[in-house]
């Protein structure tokens, strides 16, 4: 019995210690003033790696999710004869929720795990150590550009996801199921507010981008430098990022859209 309590205590201490390490790590990454001359090309390359290369999966998923929303929405709404509200339903769901959240989940799986594995492998092959011994801070040189890249790429991806999704929904609703195009867009425009809906969605994705990138680079940097350690760090990145995104989504939704 006492052993159980002790192991629970140890778990708690481990969690607190790891939170503390990740906080200190973040402070170390952000404390450095980015040097525009050397920093910019590194940042561009990382945006390419985490953003542009994730574009395909984001566009395809967005298209399908939008199409499914169109189909499901039509089936439900046509029971009440209000299938013209389909545009509004698709747009609000995507812009407020699915855009930021699904993009963040895809990002964690596609880019986050790659970031963790890359940094973990750099650690395992002593590249980070050797950089440190050359008088170059790996936190600034390796980690910071990746963190900022995630932060920048995520909202871009989320916005593209929403647009593609709405287009997919229109494809199904208007082209296939025959909802009037005018009422599709009209309903959408009268119910979607730019600041309250679109910008709040963008703010969500900015937060998610930061958290996902932070978790990914920290897990890579903090991993045990063996193959088992890297694989467990990669798993942790995906699991923790997904949980953090879903949890934060609830909190942010409550703050942004809740009536209190």
């Amino acid at each position: 019995m006492l052993d159980r309590i002790a192991s629970l205590g140890r778990l708690g201490l481990d969690i607190v210690a790891s939170l503390g390490r990740s906080g200190r790590f973040l402070a170390g990454v952000l404390s450095g003033v980015p040097r525009p001359v050397t920093g910019f090309p590194l940042l561009v390359r990382q945006i390419y790696a985490v953003g542009v290369l994730s574009l395909a999966i984001v566009v395809v998923s967005g298209l399908f999710i939008g199409m499914v929303l169109g189909l499901q929405g039509y089936t439900i709404l046509s029971d009440y004869g209000s299938e013209s509200a389909i545009g509004q339903m698709i747009a609000l769901t995507l812009v407020r929720e699915l855009g930021p959240v699904v993009t963040a989940l895809l990002f964690a799986g596609r880019a986050g795990s790659a970031l963790t594995a890359e940094i973990g492998l750099m650690k395992a092959t002593e590249q980070l150590s050797s950089m440190e011994m050359m008088g170059v801070d790996p936190l600034r040189r390796v980690v910071a550009p990746r963190l900022w890249a995630g932060f920048i790429a995520m909202p871009v991806l989320a916005v593209i996801f929403s647009v593609v999704g709405i287009w997919g929904g229109m494809l199904v609703g208007v082209e296939w199921l025959g909802v009037f195009e005018g009422s599709f867009w009209g309903n959408m425009q009268s119910s979607v507010d730019f600041l309250d809906d679109v910008m709040n969605g963008v703010i969500k994705s900015v937060v998610f981008g930061f958290v996902c990138a932070w978790i990914a680079v920290f897990q890579g940097y903090d991993c045990v430098p063996t193959s088992a350690g890297i694989s467990s760090a990669t798993t942790k990145t995906v699991v923790y990022s997904s949980l953090a995104v879903l949890g934060l989504d609830f909190v942010l939704t409550a703050v942004m859209f809740g009536d209190f």
Binding site: T125, E126, S129
Partner: protein
Amino acid sequence: MGSTAYISLKDVVFSRSGRRIFDGITLDIPRGKITAIMGPSGTGKTTLLRLIGGQLRPDSGSVQVDGHEVPRLKRKALYTLREKMGMLFQSGALFTDLSVFENVAFPLRVHTKLPEDMIHDIVLMKLEAVGLRGARHLMPSELSGGMTRRVALARSIALDPELIMYDEPFAGQDPIAMGVLVKLIRDLNSSMGLTSVLVSHDVPESLSICHYACIIADGKVIGAGTPEELKAHPSDQVQQFLQGQPDGPVPFHYPAKDAGQDYGLGGHT
């Protein structure tokens, strides 16, 4: 402090995850000479290099490099000091996303503001010194183990450091590659006046090039001096290590309970 000692460690105690790795090590590494640090695997030879490089801090004791007390240096000063150090890692630690040329150019690009054509010339010079000028367009994944280490060596001397530390340079090398490395280490030391620290457990190679050697075991220095002095050292432990005898003061068996007890024999005690 003595004018000849470039690095001096005094009563260094260091432990990691509850295990005491160094238990009061005192060691002087003279300027401009090759010093070999030898010892059985797992005695923390690499840890020693990390202490010198400031990547780890000792629990107590002092680590001085060129008159600077390393554990007390502020971040910035530490990074400045490291520009004078080169370190050759066991795996080479080349940046896998950069070509051989860019790997060697990396420290120059980060720490100097030299024009591109000058960087080009310096990199070729350094690659020439390790005999790999022709391999400059290759990627690290296309290199053999020995070549990787030679490129890493070229990279660590790119900034003309005062000190270079070799972490197990001979481990896992074929005889030819080993011969090349031995020659390179000796040449670099004599031509550039480098202070070299060599961590290794390859006794004959190390002893053949070093001016001084010291042997570490059980967290202590058990023998130090010139290669000749060591070969005539009275300690059994030193002799066992130098001659590679399987059993001796360092037992063949990892410390264990009495065998009878472990196998469940011998009844209750």
